[in-house]
Symmetry: C2
Subunit: 183 residues, 2 copies
């Protein structure tokens, strides 16, 4: 029984990896509007029902793939001081999220109305901000609160990227950080 479960887990993980890899390849080759579940299934060597059972529908699968690609691989840069740490992190965040790839990933993640991709995605951001906060506290600086940095720095940047009403330029991002740290 334990062995059976293990084998299931291994198979399940292999299917997930293969389906994710297939989706990423298809996204390079065509518009996401052209991608279908049967197309992914055929290329990944699974049945469409395996995909529907596991992910529910195409938008949940695309959200799952996008959030997996967003998983952080390294801590934010340590620049020696809280203000420059936060500025460097925010400038990189705004650049990545406003790139064509970043916009498409965010759109895929927010296309998930039922799944946990949106929460996971912003937990990565909280995690990075928490790292910066702890680093500042260890240096003896008065640290910011991660949830306030989300509200007053990250949220406006994300809003403008999503709604396209203004460019989150480096100057604009720096002004948000400065205003936040002074408040």
């Amino acid at each position: 029984m334990a062995r059976e479960m293990l084998r299931q887990g291994g198979r399940s993980a292999r299917i997930q990896a293969e389906v994710h890899r297939t989706v990423q390849e298809l996204l390079k080759e065509m518009d996401r509007g052209e991608i279908t579940v049967p197309m992914i299934a055929e290329k990944a060597g699974v049945t469409p029902s395996t995909i529907y059972r596991r992910w529910g529908d195409l938008s949940e699968l695309l959200a799952d793939v996008a959030v997996a690609r967003m998983r952080p691989i390294a801590d934010p840069e340590d620049t020696g001081a809280m203000a420059s740490d936060l500025e460097a992190f925010i400038l990189q965040y705004a650049e990545e999220m406003s790139s064509k790839v970043g916009r498409a990933m965010m759109s895929d993640i927010l296309g998930s109305l039922e799944g946990d991709a949106p929460v996971k995605c912003c937990q990565y951001t909280y995690h990075h901000l928490e790292t910066l906060r702890e680093r500042a506290a260890a240096r003896g600086e008065v640290p910011f609160e991660a949830n306030e940095a989300i509200d007053f720095v990250v949220a406006p940047i994300v809003y403008h990227i999503l709604f396209g009403d203004r460019e989150p330029t480096p100057g604009y991002c720096r002004a948000l950080v400065r205003r936040f740290l002074k408040s």
Copy 2:
């Protein structure tokens, strides 16, 4: 020629209205994941290619329908003072956007990567904030800036609705407004 264009305009407007109406009916009857362009075309009595030519693809059509439903029908309530005007507007905004219908509309609008639905949607918000600002100025109050209200009040609320990391409760919204007007 002028008559031809007029006739085209009339026909074109009728098609748009009929397709919009059909999409809204289908959205009441089924999950958006089940809706297809051929299904809409058949029910609206047009060809699928008419829809593709006009809207590009299904997600642009859904975004167009959602933004049309969001078009404001009245000015925000006049409560007699800027602070209470802004609070009343923001509480209503947060309630509408975090409802099931509001979330679905926002998701449809942000599903448009190419169209102008996202910009249109946030222009409605700017427009309302501008109305409140002008009203405040006319009363002799020191008015807020609409784009700052977007950054420090609207954006955090939208962020939490989209990413689901916290509820934009009335208490939370009121605190954002108070902090913003004091800053």
